[in-house]
Amino acid sequence: MILSLLILIPIVGAIVIAFVPRDQDNMIKWLAVGITALALLVSLPLYFNFQDGVSGYQFEEIRPWIPALNIGYHVGIDGLSLFLVLLTTFLTLISVISSWTAITDGLKEYMIFMLLLEAAVIGVFVSLDLFLYYLFWEASLIPMALLIGKWGGARRIYAAVKFIIYTMAGSTLMLVAALVLYVNAGTSDLPTLVSTLNLSQNLQIILFFAFALAFSVKVPLFPLHTWLPTAHTEAPTAGSIMLAGVLLKMGTYSYLRFAIPLFPDAVAYWSPMLVTLAIIGILYGALVALVQDDVKKLVAYSSVAHMGFIVLGTFSGGQQGMSGAVLQMVNHGLSTGMLFFLVGVLYEQRHTRLFSEYGGIWVKVPIFGTYFLLAVFSSVGLPGLNGFVGEFVILLGTFSVNPIAAALGTFGIVLAAWYLLTATRKVMMGPFNEANRNLKDMNMREAGIAFALILFCFIIGLFPNLLFDKINPATAQLAETISATTLIAGQ
């Protein structure tokens, strides 16, 4: 029941907020906090009651939905999705709190969309039926596009339209491919499809492409990434946190959940291509980030690079890479979410995100400075913090299969240090820029958010087995699927 509750709580909450008079700002805010906090609370048993060392789905629910067409309401989680659900409930609460003073206009609709977004994203991560999944996948676009289009920056309409058209266009082929599967097997139930499908390798290759295209746009994988910087620069802070934190993971998660188990024979065919694009993304994203003059755009391009690591791990062919990829999805959500949040703290006061407007502000805002540094360290993969674990394990796993790819990926961490430390230097160091003389340090609310985020970064960095123990059974099974098919293909 928990998973259905997690989808329902935000939807019901959104309906409740819809009945609150629009001038009751405080009530709306507290309601939104209460609802998202409740969702977070309800999601916690997923972690504590999750059975370690068991593969297969847990917290499953199966109900008839459209019995005539044999389409069911089937939800459940395993090691691949557990932490993404938790990440979503956590980051939504963070996003709501971070919007406390940033959003003044249309607060009611804003919170409604935020809650609907949460419901849709959780739906994506827990759906085990292709059509249910597709429904949530498309549904998540609408609140996000509206968040960008109504509460965004100057070119918000362009960014919102681009976001929605690009991702929708990307997923049309996926719908066609899903239909093909459905027609073939007479069901859209994922576990059934995985165990019964027996498609020719050529068809698998075609269908894999159709799915992967949708996912790659979402990730985004080079060269399908240009909607992301636009969306991020225009989105409000909380929109960016949600977009980078959880929406992008829908893409990388779906490779593991759908593309690989449904079309195992196609993995060997497409892996070289995807690994190549991932590597290009890692290096290219980093280089482009290096010369941005807008802090948020820099973080956006850093996402392209970081998501490249996740794709690299996913298709590196080994269990280490896959577990690393799942962990890195959580890591990227936390550290990039934190970076976007921190940029938002500055933006709220100065209404600019240009590097040239800052400089030397560490003197003025020591608490902010400390958190900013920690977020940067988490993002450059410094040991002790979360990012290191994911990157190290992904590269280690990649190395034993493809040393060249691992070497290029490892070189990406030099570039990451280059652009992120350059950003740190431009914002926080050097002579104090007098334009910031009225800058105030973080208040309790802001510091509390930053503390919560960095706390998890440390926990993951020091005790990654708290996550790996739950992730591993799922990735072990996937890795086995792939190696079994490559063995057959090789014969």
Binding site: L373, L382, L396, G397, F411, G430, F463, D469
Partner: protein
């Protein structure tokens, strides 16, 4: 005590948490007690562990803390390993570290022109970072596997970054050109990088080396299936027989990391700029401890290097080349800290020459003595800076010996040790290295002895200019004064160690006891078919030792002749060899070369990608272009939307036919 070794890491972490979280509330005096106290306690735990290890004859004790990560057959525990090598490093790091913490409690207090003392603006932040460094360095040396070594390796890098850039809002500084006498164009000097830029440079250059290190670690895992030292080293001989190429690759990749961290050619460029950090940082991180991590790594993985003689020879050659090259630059530097920085690069080169020719104990010996005398010299330089309101240009010093006796005498002691003056600690360790190098390659030895001569010369050049002769800047001289007790205390203790540190490794050929030889034996792997150790004749060894001594004394005397007896010589010499002099003064233009060949092209490529490929080609042309195309196409198609249901039905019908036929025909 060995079981409590985790305390050596936990105590500095406790210190950094207290000072980092509550530093402003508890006040600077409490901060300046907590930070050194934590390191002192860690040192005491280290001493306890030392007696433990001595008690059971060097056998390693492993302390399991928790399991870090497990994925399939990848499994890494967080274990600490107490053995002669790690205990030695723990004692050097916490011992010298404690003295430098004490020193810093006085150094980070600045006095103004009226003689009032002011704590540095971010006093507690400084000690937070300094404790962080100690903890990181101990992770590096205490871990029992390559992952923890890599973790420590990265963490010391970030501590170094934070401390170099500690005065993050200071700008870059112009340097006064070098005057070559009347009617001659002075030699202009490059401006000094700002602390924030220097910190960044250090971190990034180090990370370039770290790529090699990381790949080495990956290769170890994919070869051995584990990262644990004892398991890997036990299998190494077997692996080198079955896969002869792998071990040399591992050795070479790990060494790339050492090139970065320990500032060897071609990645040494960050270390001189690291001098932008506060002087205690230069002494602790950029002289005594962190930069020696590469040497520690090679000694720890000695079996790899013994099994890869070609790579080891490469290590020795790079080491000696660095030693020589950096010494030539040090000859003409006018910034006291930079003289010492290039000297550090050069001395690290000696250490790599030693471990490269298989003289692991000699390398460790020099690591230890160098930690003492180089920390002493840096702290002495800091004491001078403190007295002169942060002036570090030796051209503005002179005659300081009368104003600051303790600093002067201890600086002399450090200088004598660095120069390899007979019976000082540096004499024994350097001599052991040179003798070992001679046994393998007299050519390398020749460069080594030349370097020794230059070392003696540049060290005493600085000493004579700064402390002797007449004051060059009277105003500065008038205000100069001896530093406060925490500073002189550290100087005196280190001076004693710099004199007597040599007893750890007295020359065997004189039938004196060499403690380190026996002490480190348990961590050095003997190869089954190893060639007989190089045993040289007594006469050869003695001749080499006497040569070293003569060269050191001559170097010192030459400096005395140049800068005390005939002060016109250096300027005339510089004028007559101007191109060479300018080349050295500009550090061979290596920074400019890297900037032109790597940094600027990198930025240009970035711009081309950002403004060209990304914006114009991918986004505007392909993506938005496709959208426009569809827009136009849609315009045409809209004519089809004529509102007649019949035509819609037709279109749907055609679509369905296509889909169905696809399924039947495929």
């Amino acid at each position: 005590m060995s079981q409590l070794i985790w305390l050596t890491i936990a105590l500095p972490i406790l210190g950094l948490l207290i000072n980092g979280l509550f530093g402003r509330r508890i006040g600077n005096r409490v901060v300046s007690i907590i930070a050194p106290l934590m390191v002192l306690l860690a040192f005491l735990v280290g001493v306890g562990a030392l007696f433990d290890v001595m008690g059971h004859e060097g056998e390693a004790v492993t302390v399991h803390l928790w399991t870090w990560a497990t994925i399939g057959d990848f499994n890494v525990p967080i274990n600490l390993q107490v053995d002669p090598l790690s205990v030695t490093m723990v004692l050097v790091v916490t011992g010298v570290g404690f003295l430098i913490h004490v020193y810093a409690t006085a150094y980070m207090v600045h006095s103004d022109d009226h003689g009032h003392d002011h704590d540095d603006r971010d006093f507690s932040r400084f000690f937070t970072f300094l404790n962080l460094f100690i903890a990181s360095m101990l992770v590096l040396v205490l871990g029992d596997n390559f992952l923890m070594m890599y973790v420590g390796w990265e963490l010391v890098g970030v501590s170094s970054y934070l401390l170099i850039g500690y005065w993050f809002d200071r700008p870059s500084e112009e340097q006064t050109p070098i005057d070559l006498g009347p009617n001659t164009e002075p030699v202009k000097l490059q401006p000094l990088l700002s602390p924030s830029a220097s910190g960044m440079k250090a971190f990034i250059v180090n990370r370039i080396g770290d790529v090699g290190f990381a790949l080495g670690v990956f290769l170890i895992w994919s070869t051995f299936g584990t990262l644990q030292f004892n398991e890997v080293f036990a299998e190494a001989v077997h692996v080198s027989e079955t896969m002869p190429n792998v071990i040399p690759w591992i050795a070479a990749l790990l060494f790339v990391g050492a090139i970065g961290k320990s500032a060897q050619i071609p990645l040494y460029v960050w270390l001189p700029d690291a001098m932008a950090g506060p002087t205690p940082v230069s002494a602790l991180i950029h002289a005594a401890t962190m930069v020696t991590a590469g040497v520690y790594m090679i000694v720890r993985s000695n079996i790899f290097y013994s099994l890869a003689p070609e790579v080891s020879m490469g290590v020795a050659i790079i080491g000696m080349a660095t030693a020589f090259f950096a010494a030539t630059i040090a000859l003409v530097q006018v910034d006291l800290k930079r003289v010492l920085a290039y000297s550090t690069v050069s001395q690290l080169g000696y250490m790599f020459a030693a471990v490269g020719v298989g003289a692991y104990t000699a390398g460790m010996f020099h690591l230890i003595t160098h930690a003492f005398f180089k920390a002493l010299l840096f702290l002495g330089a800091g004491s001078v800076m403190h007295a002169l309101h942060d002036v570090i240009d030796i051209r503005r010093m002179g005659g300081l010996k009368d104003k600051m006796k303790i600093t002067w005498i201890t600086f002399w002691i450090g200088g004598l040790a660095l120069a390899g003056f007979p019976l000082m600690s540096g004499f024994f360790s350097k001599d052991e290295i040179l003798a070992n190098v001679f046994a393998v390659s007299p050519v390398l030895w020749f460069f080594g002895i030349l370097t020794a001569g230059m070392t003696a010369f540049y060290t005493f050049r600085a000493i004579f200019i700064a402390f002797h002769g007449k004051p060059r800047d009277l105003h500065l001289y008038e205000h100069a004064h001896e530093s406060r007790p925490p500073i002189t205390f550290a100087l005196i203790v280190l001076a004693v160690l710099a004199i007597f540190g040599g007893v750890l490794g007295l020359p065997v050929f004189l039938e004196l006891p060499n403690f380190l030889d026996g002490w480190l034996e348990p961590v050095l792997y003997a190869l089954p078919h190893a060639a007989e150790e190089h045993h040289m004749a007594f006469g050869t060894e003695l001749t080499l030792m006497i040569t070293s001594a003569v060269v050191a004394v001559s170097g010192i005397f030459l400096a005395y002749f140049f800068y005390m007896l005939q002060p016109s010589i250096p300027q005339n010499l510089a004028r007559s060899t101007r191109p060479l002099f300018a080349l050295l003064a500009h550090k061979y233009w290596i920074d400019e070369l890297y900037d032109t060949l790597i940094v600027q092209p990198g930025l240009k490529l970035s711009r081309a990608f950002a403004d060209g490929l990304d914006k114009v080609v991918i986004d505007e042309t392909f993506i938005d272009g496709t959208a426009r195309l569809f827009g136009r196409f849609g315009g045409m198609l809209s004519k089809l939307q004529n509102g007649y249901t019949g035509s819609y039905a037709l279109a749907t019908f055609i679509g369905v036919i296509i889909m169905i036929s696809y399924f039947f025909l495929r």
